[in-house]
């Protein structure tokens, strides 16, 4: 009986992190201790078993406590570092008619975060686009997020620093394994314009009903012409802060599978008062995501109303875009999608752009994805059809 118990104990200790030498000495020690029960009766043997179980638990307690960092969390003890590292990346191959086929390591991103304590933390996103940055190179090195987050209450926090604008579907969540299509959708890129970040301060609240809200005061756009939104992103790089921007978002995720959100952003002056004929601008965006079992549908609409003669005289005072995207997961690893995009950065119907995508995602692991899709794109009167292939990851 004692021999059997001791063999089991040794196996358990050896199988669980205890160095072999230590496990052996512990087992020997317990064997010696248990050896006193040669002529034991059954109650004494039971008592011996209970004692050994207690000792075993005491050993495990001590081991678990030695690696613990004050939390009850056993998982926390295994990731005791307060500094977190993550990242994502995506390599693309594009073969579009009228263009030279190219392969591009589009994005290589590293996340760094640090918990100062349970209520104050730092988060950052550091990105290299198109592999090589520098004079005459294609790429850019960008700091896209760097902020301090503090919990004010259990349901309210504040962020101060450089943050992603709370708008759209992709702007805040854009790891390649989380969306369909090799390239990000053109509506959020051209209209919103993702990826869009700015320096400022925000309040971010949640409620028990599943409704959350974000209020942000931040640097505004500085367009070179008073209407080219995407070129107006200052990216917090010696950004002119004469005319601030104000953003509010309401999001409802109280029903599993459903997300409903709406964002409004007001720019005081989209040239930072550098142009006399530029004025204020307002972005309105709304979207819905609905998933039921393996089917998901996404729909997004966004529009800009831009004041000032510069925008009006260039027929760019109203800009809009929308897309619809149904998708279906065939299995844990495979999913197919289609997406129709339409957008116009002018008020002239002939300048309307459309793009229809359909393709497949393959996830060999939940955080690794291979993508293939075909695009039917019409920019004004020019067709840009072709194939896109990609591989991406996040961790």
């Amino acid at each position: 009986m004692s021999l059997k118990i001791n063999t089991n104990l040794k196996n358990q200790l050896t199988a669980n992190f205890i160095p072999r030498k230590t496990a052996l000495s512990t087992a020997v020690a317990i064997a010696l201790f248990a050896g006193s029960s040669h002529a034991a009766t059954m109650p004494e043997l039971q008592s011996e078993i209970n004692t050994l179980q207690s000792q075993m638990n005491a050993l495990a307690d001590k081991m678990e406590t030695q690696t613990r960092v004050g939390s009850e969390s056993s998982a926390h003890s295994q990731v005791a570092s307060k500094t977190h590292i993550g990242g994502y990346g995506e390599l693309h191959y594009n073969n579009i008619e009228g263009k030279t086929p190219e392969v591009d390591f589009h994005r290589f991103v590293l996340f760094f975060g640090h918990d100062f304590n349970e209520k104050i933390r730092f988060f950052s996103e550091f990105e290299l686009e198109h592999s090589i940055a520098g004079d005459g190179q294609n790429g850019e090195v960008e700091l896209e997020q760097a902020y301090i987050e503090m919990d004010l209450t259990k349901q309210l926090k504040t962020r101060v620093g450089m943050t992603l604008v709370p708008v759209g579907i992709l702007n805040e969540t854009h790891e390649p394994n989380t969306f369909y299509g090799t390239e990000r959708n053109p509506v959020e890129k051209e209209i919103i314009p993702a990826t869009w970040w700015s320096a400022g301060a925000s309040l971010n609240g949640i409620t028990n009903s599943g409704l959350s809200y974000d209020l942000v005061v931040s640097e505004g756009l500085n367009t070179p012409d008073g209407f080219n939104i995407r070129k107006g992103r200052q990216k917090s790089s010696k950004a002119i802060a004469s005319d601030l921007a104000y953003t509010g978002r309401l999001k409802y995720t109280g029903i599993p599978g459903l997300e409903l959100a709406a964002t409004a952003r007001h720019e005081s002056n989209i040239s930072q008062s550098q142009l006399t004929d530029a004025g204020a601008a307002t972005l309105l965006e709304t979207h819905i995501i609905y998933s039921k079992e393996n089917f998901t549908a996404k729909a997004l609409y966004a529009q800009w109303d831009i004041e000032g003669n510069a925008a009006k005289s260039n027929n760019a005072d109203k800009q809009y875009g929308y897309y619809l995207e149904p998708s279906y997961k065939i299995s844990e690893n495979w999913g197919v999608f289609a997406r129709y995009n339409e957008w116009n950065t002018t008020t002239i119907d002939a300048n309307k752009n459309t793009q229809t995508d359909f393709g497949v995602n393959y996830w060999p692991h939940k955080q690794v994805v291979f993508k293939a899709d075909y695009q039917l794109k019409k920019v004004g009167s020019t067709e840009q059809n072709g194939i896109n292939l990609g591989v991406g990851y996040s961790f």
């Binding site: 669980n16 230590t22 512990t26 638990n57 005491a58 933390r121 599943g210 109280g254 997300e259 997961k329």
Partner: protein, 215 residues
Amino acid sequence: MNNLALFLVSAKQISSKPIRALLLVGLISFSAQIHAAALSEESAAFLASHLQENPNKQYQWLTGEVKKQVTLVLDHPYYTLRVPYWQSGRDDNRKTVWILEEIGKHKPITVGIVIQNQQIKSLRILKFRESRGWEVELPTFTQQFDGIALKSPVDLNNIDLTTHIDGISGATLSVRAVTKLSKLALLLQQHIDTKQGSAKQLTPAPVKTHSLTNH
């Protein structure tokens, strides 16, 4: 560890039974103090709300075949050598409470799970530490697990639940972590039921089974 082994060797060498017994009592009470200190306020309240009889803390050791199965469910080994659980009641009324943890993105989510007759009676997020994915704390999400069981027969390479769990956009990693823990609790329950001789044939609900959707 070495100090503890030496302590045990020394205990053997002490010929006086009373002193040896005293050392053992000290060791056991030290262990009990750690148990008491380790339980958070949320976990203690969850335990008290589901098990009325002041149950003893017990452990399922994660060794051998159990360890392999746990690794399959989580995609990695569990964080400790053993998992605590508490039980009260008898036969069909016996309830087991598991308090388990899994990392969502960077930080552990602590989940309390009550199982009766190999079905989840209740699942609650006891501590959520991530910056995103807070929606898993909402009752509308956790109530999806009520009455759920492991799909039978259990395929160890693809352990699945009898009912699909709807995900939350933007909270995929948290949803995945909680779903994994629900499977882990049900799997461990099978082991302790087998050990206690009360294992039953699984009776899956008549719901078409699907895997978790990635968003």
